[in-house]
């Protein structure tokens, strides 16, 4: 009498157990979550592609599951640094170079030498920048080089020199069009640093020497700042337009040239369907330019080192690298991956970006990487004085050098 009413319940329980064993949801629930924070996850378009890419790792794993954490670029550093400083934070983080060095110095990153064997991978040149004190603290996630993009409807051919470039920009400035665009405001300090650094490196200067001594007042840097001022005063740029605005103007055919990274080039090529886009090396005396170098690191607070390491090793497999490079567009990845014929047919100029890798230098003052935010603040303020108040470049850069030595390096 009592046994029969229980039968349906037993059958239901058995069905649930059987369903559970075969259900992907429950299987995933048994996996250990490994969080991976990157601003790219929050980007429209690329974020979805990156999630799909991460899902392939998850599908290949029985033990770990990467959980993407999307944090907008504008608040990424303060959010993640605050979490890491408080003893928590994501297990894996995609940093930019300034944050990478700051976190390394603060001992917030795990050394990866026991996770990644150098001999097992044919790393591209920028990998060397991710070793600090002989130890590896990151793996390249994205390298984006800088070159000059120009609209052949406004600028007929690649300028052969800087003076030719200025003349071409002046020639293209008419009928509501501008010959060129760059950043020149304090509100875009971070982006302006990259634009300015391209001039400095292109004119043969560096922010510091091999010993880590600031060289902000060196002749080459002064020459570069004078060139920046020359373009600013040439009435060829849409003054006050921020980067997103002038990039949109470029895509609409209203700006002749910009010096920008491969990621932007891919976006502009996609956005400007009718744009007559061409790419050439930046019009400076040397081919040195800066780059965006973004490593993936393991947070020292992680409880999931094994899972994070498994992801990094998977990320470096040829298939994962190839797919990641396609997601990045005109940027490259940790290991040299050949462009597919489809990519080359779609964007023939992509090889100009790829060939720039050998001339790419990180944007931070060598040996002073952890002091970069303060140095940037001082230098940009002085350059704005040059642009707006007419301070001579030599005076402004001498003041910047002095301020860096006294206020930042406490000498």
């Amino acid at each position: 009498m009592n046994f029969r009413p229980r039968l349906p319940f037993l059958a239901l329980a058995a069905a649930l157990v059987a369903a559970g064993l075969s259900s992907p949801t429950l299987v995933f629930a048994q996996k250990q979550p490994v969080t991976f924070a990157a601003a790219s996850f929050a980007e429209p378009g690329r974020g979805d592609k990156m999630r799909a890419w991460v899902a392939k790792f998850n599908a290949s794993q029985a033990k770990f599951e990467i959980q993407p954490v999307a944090i907008p670029f504008s608040s990424f550093v303060s959010t993640v640094f605050t979490q890491m400083g408080g003893g928590a934070g994501p297990d894996l983080v995609r940093f930019d170079l300034p944050e990478f060095y700051a976190a390394t110095e603060a001992k917030r990153l795990l050394p990866l030498d026991d996770v990644i064997q150098d001999s097992a991978f044919a790393f591209a040149a920028p990998d060397k920048y991710l070793k600090v004190g002989g130890k590896r603290y990151g793996v390249v996630f994205e390298v984006s080089n800088y070159s000059m993009l120009y609209n052949t409807a406004l600028i007929k051919g690649a300028p052969g020199s800087f003076d030719d470039f200025v003349k071409a920009a002046q020639g293209a400035t008419a009928n509501g069009n501008f010959g060129y665009a760059f950043r020149a405001t304090m509100a875009e300090r971070g982006g302006m640093w990259y634009d300015l650094t391209n001039y400095v490196y292109g004119f043969g200067g560096r922010w510091s020497d091999e010993k880590g001594e600031p060289t902000i007042n060196s002749p080459k840097v002064i020459e570069a700042v004078a060139a920046y001022k020359k373009v600013y005063d040439a009435s060829v740029i849409p003054k006050g337009a921020d980067a997103s605005t002038y990039r949109r103007m470029f895509a609409e055919g209203k700006v002749g040239a910009v010096i920008d990274n491969g990621g932007v080039a891919a976006n502009l090529a996609t956005a400007g369907k009718d744009l007559k886009l061409a790419v050439a090396p930046s019009p400076f005396p040397t081919r040195a330019q800066t780059m965006i170098l973004a490593p993936v690191v393991i947070n020292a607070n992680t409880k999931q080192k094994e899972g994070a390491a498994a992801f990094l090793r998977w990320m470096l497999t040829p298939e994962a690298q190839k797919e990641l490079q396609q997601i990045h567009g005109a940027s490259s990845v940790a290991i040299a991956v050949e462009r597919t014929p489809e990519e080359l047919a779609k964007w023939p100029w992509i090889t100009t970006y790829d060939s720039q890798t050998q001339n790419a230098v990180p944007p931070l003052p060598q040996g002073l990487e952890t002091k970069a935010p303060e140095i940037q603040q001082i230098v940009i303020e002085q350059v704005i004085k040059v642009l707006q108040a007419g301070t001579p470049p030599a005076t402004a850069m001498a003041d910047a050098q002095k301020a860096v030595l006294t206020r930042v390096l406490k000498r």
Binding site: K239, I384, K385
Partner: protein
């Protein structure tokens, strides 16, 4: 039961306990920790590793010409915001207090800037001030004013006036609404009596209106001062404190030192200077109101 609760000597303490706990957890303790942090060299990335350096952060601030400029910019920004917001608020409130057609609509319309989110206001303002496309520069150029050629937000000389214009435009409606409410409390009989006695409009304002609305004006001045001292969003979105520190106020400086330069200790020291200024303003206000109350024989 309610009767026992009301009569119980501990009831008042029980009633204020939640507020005290809230203040303790979310105001006093963080403030105490910030005070302590200001005496340490603490990085954002190593918040738990603090090196005690005594007054070094404050000594650096004292010798930092840029910081002195930051304090000056903060005081100028605050003073102009308070005076302009209350001045415009009072003027508009006096206009809106009088009878005219469409008064209800005008009263509603004047609150629009206050209701607009600062992010939207900042984004619109950036375009308005744009030298090439903005209506502001175009209007100045049409009037033959040379400064219309400039991008005000990027100009060392004009960035602070531009930020102030935007700020005052956004905050004055609050003063207007508060003072309009205060004006409703001015006794009509006294106004009429003063007018019958031959007083002109200015005399009526000084003798009848001002004494009634003065406490509201003082309270507005206190709130406006504190809000202006701590205003971050609008300034950050418009200029990030630049160019060359022209709009760098104390709160912008706190953010930059703590979260851009990752120096929590330095940021905390700047924060304490800001707190000290706010405390001085508050103490002055309470002393003034106490003196005014004594003068009226209330205390």
């Amino acid at each position: 039961m309610p009767a026992r609760l009301e009569g119980h000597p501990r009831t008042p303490y029980l009633l204020v306990l939640p507020a005290v706990l809230y203040l303790l957890a979310f105001q006093i303790l963080p403030l105490a920790q910030e005070f302590w942090l200001s005496f340490t060299a603490t990085s954002l990335l190593s918040a738990s590793q603090n090196d005690w350096i005594g007054l070094e952060n404050y000594r650096e601030l004292l010798h930092d010409a840029d910081f002195r400029k930051t304090v000056l910019v903060t005081l100028v920004y605050t003073a102009v915001c308070v005076v302009a917001a209350i001045g415009l608020g009072l003027s508009s409130a006096l206009l809106l207090d009088g009878p005219f057609r469409g008064r209800g609509f005008a009263r509603a319309a004047v609150t629009i800037p206050w209701a607009a989110p600062p992010v939207a206001v900042a984004l619109v303002s950036i375009w308005i001030y744009n030298a090439q496309y903005g209506i502001f520069g175009r209007a100045l150029r049409a009037l033959g004013i040379e400064a219309g050629q400039l991008n005000w937000l990027d100009s060392v000389d004009y960035a602070l006036p531009a930020v102030l214009l935007t700020t005052v435009w956004q905050i004055f409606p609050f003063a207007s609404v508060v003072l309009l409410a205060a004006l409703q409390g001015v006794p009509h009989e006294q106004r009429e009596a003063a007018i019958i006695d031959g007083a002109d409009r200015l005399s009526v304002f000084k003798a009848v209106v001002w004494p009634t609305i003065q406490p509201s004006v003082m309270l507005l001045a206190l709130f406006s001062t504190i809000w202006s001292l701590r205003r971050f969003d609008l300034i950050w979105l418009l200029t990030q404190g630049g160019p060359v520190g022209a709009t760098n106020t104390l709160v912008i400086d706190v953010y930059r030192r703590a979260f851009v330069n990752q120096q929590l200790g330095q940021g905390a020291a700047v924060g304490m200077v800001g707190l000290a200024i706010a405390l001085v303003v508050t103490i002055v206000y309470f002393r003034y109101t106490a003196r005014a109350a004594r003068a009226r024989g209330e205390a």
